[in-house]
Symmetry: C2
Subunit: 444 residues, 2 copies
């Protein structure tokens, strides 16, 4: 892809309306464009990143046996009246009247709708567990949308729902998502820490937020530093193994300010391990038992012949929000260098060629390299404009392909100037370059 033909409208300077670095970068490099307050269009660069995040989220849902469905954005108010949340939800719910004057709404979440689907489909404990998820646009009519896509009104989210016959099985489902989330964020090259959290308008008794550290985060967090050394390696999709994983994390104090208790914090965490900082919520999981199944009558036949309400949990990941969260975590604003994790990078390599009028040799070379990379499934973007090399490098540092190839005047026969962002450049041949990039892609 030539940058001159791509739809990447780059601004010379940081836009003044943006306050946090993800919002600044996304506007500056043409990842998004605001269409109205808190509502954005995703331009090709932003779209590519979001789609790659979506794919990873999807794969990790599939891996724990969740099945993908797709619920509509517009819902009827009726099911929300059944659950009792229609009035409770307040002004953040976008309420709509259709041409027949029926009360509709733009779904801010889907507990009611998925419970309605479940109750009309599943009748027996034999069909349990059921883990259903979808990835869909949602709308919350924020009174003061801000920070770009981090606190916007229309956002893209994965939400999953589990249905089980009893508490024990339901916690098994909950723990599957707990593991799935740790794996998802790891593949995005984020260190997301599960923290005990309040359940808020979803309700229920058990809940974890997954938080990444970021100075611009909206959540205050209080945690034992040692939790950052943990990982989910070796955990299997079995009750005991998942239970051990939860316990391993829960041995360390780690809460958001809603659950913060100073005394407890100081008692449980030695001074040298205390960390008070800010973070961004990128996922949230809830166990709420029969809160919705009871009010909406979602029950199954049990082995003995009795019936019982199914036990449910719900599990959210902000897919569009993650684009911003990764920028908050990775963007070196001072040096204006964004290095996307290769798993979600819009391009793997940027090819920066020094173009002279009347001399197409650098561009020809760039094209040959790009087509060789393509054969190894490595995506590149070529800067084919006649700007000078240093402004091209600056631009590519913002676009954020993790690798750069620079084709200057004195190109040597087989050696290519190759650089991983943030590291020294080296002169190596194309075969070695391909090997380095492919290795990185496999790891992530």
């Amino acid at each position: 892809m030539y940058i001159s033909k791509s739809f990447i409208p780059i601004l010379k300077n940081s836009p003044s309306e943006a306050k946090i670095k993800s919002h600044k970068l996304m506007l500056r490099v043409g990842m998004i464009k605001q269409s109205s307050a808190g509502i954005y269009s995703w331009l090709p660069l932003g779209f590519k990143v979001m789609k790659k995040i979506e794919k990873i989220v999807r794969e990790e849902q599939d891996r724990i046996g969740a099945q993908e469905i797709l619920m509509p954005t517009i819902q009827s108010s009726e099911i929300w009246k059944e659950s009792g949340r229609y009035e409770d939800y307040g002004d953040e719910m976008l309420r709509i009247k259709d041409r027949q004057d029926r009360e509709m709404l733009y779904g801010p979440t889907n507990e009611e709708l998925v419970t309605d689907i479940f109750r009309s489909s599943i009748k027996s404990y034999k069909s349990l567990p059921q883990l259903l998820y979808h990835i869909q646009w949602k709308f919350r009519d924020e009174i003061r949308p801000r920070f770009g896509i981090m606190r916007c009104r229309e956002f893209y989210m994965k939400d999953a729902y589990s249905f089980d016959v009893n508490d024990e099985e339901a916690l098994f489902s909950y723990n599957k998502f707990f593991l799935s989330y740790l794996k998802t964020f790891k593949r995005l090259d984020l260190t997301a820490i599960p923290m005990a959290a309040d359940t808020g308008p979803i309700g229920g008794s058990l809940s974890h937020e997954f938080i990444i550290l970021a100075e611009t985060g909206e959540s205050k967090i209080f945690t034992d530093k040692r939790i950052f050394d943990l990982n989910s390696d070796g955990t299997r999709l079995e009750k005991k193994s998942l239970d051990d994983l939860r316990k391993k994390y829960e041995q360390f104090y780690s809460v958001t300010d809603e659950k913060f208790n100073k005394e407890e914090f100081e008692k449980k965490v030695s001074e040298s391990n205390r960390l008070k900082t800010k973070g961004i919520e990128v996922g949230h999981i809830f166990y709420f038992g029969d809160k919705y199944s009871k009010s909406m009558g979602a029950s199954v036949d049990l082995p003995g012949g009795k019936k019982d309400f199914v036990k449910m949990g719900s599990y959210g990941i902000g897919v569009s929000r993650l684009v911003g969260a990764i920028i908050e975590a990775k963007y070196d604003e001072k040096n204006e260098i964004m290095k996307w994790p290769i798993s979600v990078a819009p391009y793997d390599v940027s090819i920066i060629a020094m173009i002279n009028k009347n001399d197409t040799s650098s561009l020809d070379r760039a094209n040959r390299i790009a087509s060789e990379l393509e054969k190894s499934d490595i995506q590149s973007i070529i800067d084919d404009t006649d700007e000078n090399i240093s402004s091209k490098i600056k631009k590519m540092n913002l676009i954020g392909a993790p690798f750069q190839i620079i084709i200057g005047k004195q190109a040597e026969a087989d050696l290519i100037e190759f650089k991983e962002l943030g590291k020294e450049s080296q002169k190596i041949n194309l075969t070695t370059i391909i090997k380095i990039i492919k290795e990185q892609k496999v790891i992530n």
Copy 2:
């Protein structure tokens, strides 16, 4: 995947509320569930098919150089007032007031929004052409939604937009989509014929609908039979070649009733070639020049220093509608056999095993076969229930994997009963089965 664990709620009988066969089958086999009038949730089986269609649509857009973006579902009324369509659009537009009392709407189409994106991003003819597309949910508040997802309110659509410097280039873009549509529908195993059409509320001077034949279709069509023998083989992405393709199709009379002229029909088409029938619209392309760019001020600098409004076209494919259209075209309702084209089938093979209590040998064999198929990237679904073979076959005929493997009592050592839907079954070994299926997958 075991059918007992999958979320495929199958009904014993055809639901009475459905009038056309796609609606009947989709409800019966649990592809969709209505959530309110004209609004549906997509359950796993329907979702799989829709996603496969979406992928093919996407690939054929990418192939002509279109770039993917994603515009939001909720739009501000302001841009629609600029174009003059806000009042014109009538009651089918779902109008919304947000909590600040701003006039919003759920996008029924995106000419305004994409023009707004274009005008703020592209300033010079040098960056043209630009072909942008997105695949997004849209809403049209039909007064009488019916026929399931064929005439519903919330629907999934690919819409693309082209921006060019003059009419000649704009027609080149138009013709690229013309080709792309023929290829897309061919990959879906549909014979879709381009027909001269009215432009309706989109406006403009040139338009083609792509129609597939179906008795339940809402469009009356009048056509020269010989048009069905044409194809786009050998067409290249060059002006002359694309022009020839258009001419090849346009030599034959082929219109919907809006454009029908009896005298012309009878003059141009000999009696033996006349075909009057019904069809389903699956795509629609428009050329409308500067209709939106003029009213919304989207201009570019020309080579000489002057400015001119860009010339635009728009190009829609109903992605969710195609699920129904394929059923209308392929479902043998009398014999209750749905054979999905392998390019979009929810599963490639259904494995129907005769299960006896206390004897798991058939199921074990099914599992082994499924895991061998998996290695060749062939997706299967195993019926692991204890129903009898004939009711299992009936069920699988509705689910519609194009191939079936039947594991009965007297399983022979290496030979497996294998059947392509609608053909005779044969006893062959697994290697041959894999070869047959893989060949089919490559063709499509």
